[in-house]
Symmetry: C2
Subunit: 269 residues, 2 copies
Amino acid sequence: MGTTQLDTVPEPKYWHLKTVLSDALDSEFAVGEILPNERELAARFGVARATLRQALEQLELEGRLQRRRGVGTTVAPPRFGVDVVQGEQGWPGTPDDAWQTGESEETAPPAGVAALLGHEQGEPVHSVRRTRMTHGQPVATEVLYVPHSSVPALPAAEPGAGAARGRAVLRELQRLDLEGQERTVELGSVRADDARQLDRLPGAPVLVVTTCYIAQGTTAAVGVSTYRADTCRLTFGDSKVPEPLMTGADGPAEPAHRRHRAGARLSRR
Amino acid sequence: MGTTQLDTVPEPKYWHLKTVLSDALDSEFAVGEILPNERELAARFGVARATLRQALEQLELEGRLQRRRGVGTTVAPPRFGVDVVQGEQGWPGTPDDAWQTGESEETAPPAGVAALLGHEQGEPVHSVRRTRMTHGQPVATEVLYVPHSSVPALPAAEPGAGAARGRAVLRELQRLDLEGQERTVELGSVRADDARQLDRLPGAPVLVVTTCYIAQGTTAAVGVSTYRADTCRLTFGDSKVPEPLMTGADGPAEPAHRRHRAGARLSRR
DNA sequence: GAGTGGTCTAGACCACCTC
DNA sequence: AGGTGGTCTAGACCACTCC
């Protein structure tokens, strides 16, 4: 019976690895610094590369790391807040709005949006694509669905698509009285087409914000926005919240007390 | 020459698999139904189990599947909306509130929260744990941090911890005039302690909602809530949004047009 | 071309649940 | 005991970036 704590459930290796790496990130690395490559890290910790990658994936999910194929793994800057309630109850496309309008076409919306609009499936609407830039990088894409009951089919002022057409739809939309907005946020994974725009691989986690614009007692438009989950923190309301803030983990991280033995240094040794 | 579309970038197998499975889920399976096990599915699609698992992970992330060790993989019900702005500008702990109060103690808050409160690191506050139940299952855990400037150290009415003490803190808090709330939402991964409460493995994705309660011109309390990202859709405002809604993917899924050949049936053959 | 991360394989063992 | 998903390994090849 000389054995000690055999009843402790073994923590998965990748989980333990994650916390070790996380601490090393705090203490040994600056934002933007590049980590040793995966094969080297795996060897240094004595695990298979797949296991090491499982830990890195977690840290990337939490916004601590950024990995780019052909380049390497770097320490990510803290997430920046992006205000989701722009212009306080304003229509999209108004002056102070952080989005830039892209192409527009006439399509049948996805089933979920049709339901929100109270449409039969297949009924065509204006769909306007927009992109949101912050610090020179795209952080979100959006498709705005505007039913013909809000903005009638345009008098073919533009050839059929293009940003000018999108702006025209938004201009017409702004003539309505906006009574309110309702939003939902959920987790999703980026589709192939948005992936390129957001500079992520397909399947990367995103926060999907669905906004219903209410006017004349009904849903006058629906916006579906796709935010990069790794780099963004969504803010609601005119938050005066300062910059450092959250760590991305489950709530703000514990202060760096009572952590592990494993004294592996990562930087040049 | 005779070659066709050699320039098409090969879609990753797991990505293609995901869409095939997703379609099969739509057409062949009912909510709650159990899928064939991973080894069988992998064999049926002619891929390694690890590859199949990559596809299943995606689908679980999008809330389409639910996997439980020792049991199997089942088709998940659509995400349900949980209102994040409860009681319209009310303090936590008021009557209609969906949370049940848990233990409370006196601790130093994590660094991020200390910053929001304008505290030096290490300054102790009340921290009240709460749990949110929906449909009999826990969907979120929360820690509410209440500085002594809002609610002074309690007169040791309770032994030091326990739900009664937590309720006492909330009761005192409600005496203040609430001027506003500010929220942020970001992606995180569940820590070991919350994992058990939420019935998830450590590292599962969660939506972390940070709420600043404003009173007397300052931040009178900070709540950090951790919602299961697989089963929840956060709603803001008194949303009348109906139930079916989003698919969890990047915006509502395309209607099931123009999809793949690969006619693998999944159900009993 | 050299080096990086991304994908994929075929196997093994483990923790957990149910019967 | 038998079956499930969860972890881990040691390799291979590919796509991408940069020099």
